[in-house]
Amino acid sequence: MRVLIFTWEYPPKRLGNVSDHVSTLAHELVKRKNEVEVIVLDDLRPGFEDVYGVHVHRVANPVKTHPMASVLTYAMTASVQMEAEASNIVYFYKQHQKSINLIHAHEWLTISPAISLKHTFNIPFVLTLHSIEGHRSHNRFGPLSIAIKEIEDTGIWESNKVIANTDWLKNEILRYYGDGHRKKIDVVWPVGKGWVDEVYSVYQRVAQENLQAQ
């Protein structure tokens, strides 16, 4: 299977736990004979690197100044650069008569490019939410927080499958974004051995469903 992973951090960029989570996932998937393309936001070291089989594409946001250090304008502008890199990869594989089977986005920052790719190339898209805005924000009803919630909501609607890390988080997502998504959310506890196999089985199911839908 050929998977395109969108993330906002990947080693050596490390701000939270998503970085290690995604790199473990990518390396384990490569061990299982999958092709993994990782697209990560990294303003300090843009470029391509082949890390033991994982193809890491680091992209920088061309827009450096953001009023009041707004993470929203940062995410929206960076999103375009991630799309550009991703579509380059898709077209590269097309030239070799291959295609990307699945997009896996992590956190709200990468929801926008994933949706655009899904719309353009009809590639199914899995979204992992490690946390949600309602828990992170210190100003839950501020305009920024509402905007991020809207993006998370759109991501849950547009994705083919949502992965939550714990049952608790799944219930919280349902509480915030509506109980109707209950069947869409799978729980994979990313600790210990075997969780990558669980993620992989989610991939297989989603890819299969997408093929049947066509």
């Binding site: 100044t65 375009v80 501020g142």
Partner: protein, 397 residues
């Protein structure tokens, strides 16, 4: 040829001059046989899809929460981009993507890469020019987005040579990447029968000469220069009144400035008025004045010229190219009330001269600022790009 236009405004959603520009341009392109699809923000009462005189208009849900205007503008463009993706998949591809300003440029960059099709951008204005420099982070962010957009565009269209130089300097763009295609004006809109005195009496006393100012009330439009010129005109024994059409944040300040000069009854702020009344007002006005300090193009000047209204304009920006001094109007240095008063008095006092410049100006509208010619030039730009694209290596597969 199939062209996808991206714009954040299209009639009935009208915010600035872009809506009417694109409305006229897209219809003129359609008349030349170019298939036009416009993707634009939705508007209460407007249909999601409609065919307007051959132009396919597709509207998307533009509501999006944001932490600021900028946050909204960028999220809105993600929706625009998604609408564009769905549309291109349905109509099975486009040849050229045409964005207008940064408010649709980010969506344009996204679509360019997703479909690997050439992007062309019309830079109607720049943040640097609007603000006379970059002074805070918000402006810097917009400036960087504009810079990025110019970098990503295959070609940039500007409406004047002044703007070509400005864009090329401001964003370090090679000059041969920038094409100049002027804005246009539809002169037929200004030919209609109306009751001269009925319109005129609504704005001024019969003995007063109407000095018409049309524009947003912001510093770069320079209404304060006109207000300062008025006492000079009055002191020469010419009874005149300024009629100001337009709204803006500076309105109270300008009213106060007029009051300070004792001219409170010699200036009339009409606010926004409907298009028909505005065109009639151009025809009853004695002089139209464009005292701008920064003007990428100056559509107001074209409207005055099309309406046979004599024109006094600052010799800056696009106005410098539209107005030929003592040929199609009078040009005066910007920010100079004495010079402006001289220009206005010259036109009011010399009727023969007035008739001569008014006729020249009308002819120039017909020859240079005709939408069919503009569509021809724009199509030429599309064709040049498509030739380069088709013979180049940057393609989807």
């Amino acid at each position: 040829m199939r062209v996808l236009h991206l714009s954040w405004e299209f009639p009935p959603r009208i915010i600035g001059g872009l809506a009417s520009h694109l409305f006229d341009l897209s219809r003129a392109l359609t008349r030349r046989g170019v298939e036009i699809h416009v993707v634009t923000c939705n508007f209460p009462g407007a249909k999601e899809y409609e065919l307007v005189e051959g132009v396919n208009v597709h509207r998307f849900e533009a509501y999006a929460a944001g932490d600021s205007f900028l946050g909204w503008a960028l999220r809105m463009q993600k929706n625009m981009e998604r609408k564009g993706c769905d549309l291109i998949n349905i109509i099975k591809g486009v040849d050229v993507i045409h964005a207008h300003d940064w408010l649709s440029g980010v969506a344009g960059i996204g679509l360019k890469h997703l479909y690997k099709k050439p992007l062309i951008t019309t830079m109607h204005s720049t943040e640097y020019g609007r603000r006379n420099g970059i002074h805070n982070d918000l402006q810097a962010c917009i400036h960087e987005i504009e810079s990025w957009l110019c970098y990503e565009s295959w070609r940039i269209i500007t409406c004047s040579y002044y703007m070509r130089d400005h864009v090329s300097w401001c964003f370090r763009v090679p000059e041969n990447k920038v094409c100049v295609v002027p804005n246009g004006v539809d002169v037929t809109k200004f030919n209609f029968d109306f009751n001269y005195w009925e319109i005129r009496n609504r704005f001024a006393h019969a003995s007063e000469k109407i000095l018409l100012f049309v524009g947003r009330l912001v510093p770069e439009k320079g209404l304060d220069v006109l207000i300062k010129a008025l006492p000079i005109i009055l002191s020469k024994g010419v009874n005149a009144k300024i009629v100001v059409v337009g709204e803006g944040p500076q309105r109270d300040e300008y009213q106060r400035l007029a009051n300070d000069h004792g001219l409170g009854n010699k200036i009339l702020f009409t606010g926004h008025i409907d298009d028909w009344t505005l065109r009639a007002l151009y025809r009853v006005a004695d002089v139209a004045i464009v005292p701008s300090r920064f003007e990428p193009f100056g559509i107001v000047a074209l409207e005055a010229m099309a309406a046979h209204c004599p024109l006094v304009a600052s010799s800056i920006g696009g106005l410098d190219e539209i107005v030929d001094h003592e040929g199609t109007g009078l040009k005066v240095p910007p920010n100079n009330p004495e010079a402006l008063a001289w220009g206005i008095l010259r036109i009011i006092r010399d009727v023969g001269f007035k008739d001569w410049i008014v006729n020249n100006a009308y002819q120039k509208c017909l020859w240079n600022y005709n939408w069919d010619k503009i569509a021809e030039w724009t199509t030429g730009v599309y064709e040049a790009i498509l030739h380069e694209y088709n013979t180049g290596s940057w393609k989807p597969v």
